[in-house]
């Protein structure tokens, strides 16, 4: 194995624009740990949604590589985030993904912390023991209209506020806080987390790989813009549909236009409301809503799908009837967790308002297809024959923006 920590600055510096990354970025343990420190340790990471911890005392745990995080809903309904590690002997505090607790209690020696992280009880310690010095280590946590982000760095990137201000108006009509989790799926993709993200950032592969997804979505909404007469006719049709959708949404006060800061912000993001095929309602096999109880205060079913992408680890699709969120959480240099969460209105009743199999069919199938593609890429980039290859300027511009953002943020991290 190459000692890539020393080589990392050079590898970053010589990365050619418009080309895939060199092999060590997808395979090397030292670079993986640098990713955990400089990317996942310093940026805003999407970890879940507010309906997962709706009531006081609800806590959730999420592991981001070697970072263990717990997020709690306190008695004032605010979100609190901490390292999920006891200050006594380092035991993991919250074991399962979701729990309901009075206080946060270590299962080892029962050190007890309030939901504000303060140490309330530590048995058998001396009289002069400073409980105030042994509270849980706090992390930055923010909710973007119900999407929960944490930052493990001492100072969190301040431009989260700007993203929240802009994206909040797009997301708010879908009323995440009034949703419930209908289903959640964890799959382990057999590749480095960047391969999972790069695969998400293009739809060059969609028509061949995703028959279920392309039933409703247009690849053109995801950076796909090939040349040629047939492609141009399709692009013109898509442009008409996007114009019609945005006009109808703007009339209802629902923001829709494209905003792209994927590569020019510390907290990179992109959003746009995109039209869907046929009925135009939802990312389902029949393009119609999967849940008859609509989200928020929406009364119109045909709102297409609002896409939101955030660097480094998430994407989201918001429709009139349901929301699908995706978080990528690095596990090892060559495995990544893809956590998918389907949300419906909290009053929707399974089997009455929605059929779970119908609700989840498209993305369940698409995730499995994407995981197989990520595995194929991982199988190739770890071989001796791999050399960086060129991105298509017409269809892979958003992948290039992901890589450009990654290289820029790694260099900034190494410099600071």
């Amino acid at each position: 194995m190459i000692d890539s920590t020393q080589k990392l600055p050079g590898l970053l510096a010589r990365r050619a624009r418009g080309m895939t990354l060199e092999a060590p970025f997808y395979t090397d343990a030292a670079i993986f740990h640098a990713d955990l420190d400089l990317i996942f340790g310093r940026h805003w990471i999407f970890v879940g949604v507010e309906p997962e911890i709706a009531e006081p005392g609800d806590v959730m745990s999420v592991d981001i590589g070697n970072h263990a995080v717990l997020i709690a809903r306190d008695d004032d309904m605010a979100l609190q985030a901490f390292h999920n590690v006891c200050r006594h002997r380092g035991a993991r505090l919250i074991e399962s993904r979701h729990e309901s607790v009075g206080n946060i209690v270590c299962p080892y020696h029962q050190w007890t912390y309030g939901l504000d992280g303060g140490l309330r009880h530590a048995g058998c310690m001396p009289k002069d023991f400073h409980t105030e010095r042994h509270g849980l280590r706090k992390l930055h946590v923010r909710s973007l209209e119900g999407l929960i982000f944490v930052c493990l760095g001492e100072e969190a990137p301040a431009d989260f506020d700007e993203m929240a201000r802009v994206v909040g108006t797009y997301v708010a009509p879908h009323g995440i806080a009034r949703c419930k989790v209908a289903y959640s799926e964890d799959i382990v993709e057999p590749g480095n987390w960047k391969l999972t993200m790069e695969n998400n950032r293009e739809c060059y592969h969609c028509s061949a790989a995703h028959p279920e997804l392309t039933r409703s979505i247009f690849a053109e909404g995801f950076g796909f813009a090939p040349v040629g007469a047939a492609a141009e006719a399709q692009a013109a049709r898509f442009a008409d549909m996007i114009g019609d959708l945005h006009a109808r949404c703007e009339l209802r006060g629902i923001p829709s236009g494209e905003i792209d800061h994927l590569a020019d912000r510390v907290t990179g993001f992109r959003t746009e409301r995109l039209p869907l095929e046929d009925a135009g309602e939802s990312e389902t096999l029949d393009t119609r809503v999967a849940c008859r109880k609509l989200l928020g205060d929406l009364s119109e079913t045909r709102l297409g799908a609002l896409s939101l992408w955030t660097q480094p680890n998430s994407w989201h699709h918001f429709m009139s009837d349901h929301i699908v969120t995706f978080a990528v959480l690095p596990l090892t240099p060559e495995t990544s967790l893809l956590r998918t969460t389907w949300l419906v209105h909290q009053d929707a009743v399974e089997g009455v308002d929605y059929d779970l199999a119908n609700l989840t069919a498209v993305w369940h199938a698409t995730n499995a297809q994407d995981s197989a593609l990520v595995g194929k890429a991982a199988d190739g980039v770890r071989t001796s024959g791999y050399r960086p290859g060129p991105y298509s300027a017409d269809t892979e511009g958003l992948v290039e923006k992901f890589c450009a953002w990654y290289v820029d943020r790694m260099q900034a991290g190494l410099a600071g």
Partner: protein, 91 residues
């Protein structure tokens, strides 16, 4: 009150009936009878002693170690609960 004042607590798992002296907690009654229950803070914070109350009423003065929905489901913290009637505790 008579000599044997206080309520009776049945610890169902231990199959023991124990007299609880007036003013004592359920935990103290167990300890006095030599029944070992898990506990740590003794003041209703850590919930180590959380137990199922299957019969009876208690006065529980906890410090945030238990949630209303748990209380509604019949859970008590025995370290800070005093009997208001005869009890059956799943311990």
């Amino acid at each position: 009150m008579s000599e044997d004042a206080g309520f009776t607590i049945r610890f169902a798992v231990s199959a023991r009936d124990v007299k609880c002296a007036p003013g004592s907690t359920v935990l103290e009654a167990a300890e006095a009878a030599g029944i070992k229950l898990p506990f740590s803070c003794r003041e209703g914070m850590c919930a180590t002693c959380k137990s199922q109350l299957t019969s009876g009423q208690v006065d529980m003065q906890h410090k945030g170690g238990i949630r209303p929905k748990e209380i509604a489901a019949g859970k008590i913290l025995v370290c800070c609960s005093r009997p208001l009637s005869d009890l059956v505790v799943e311990r």
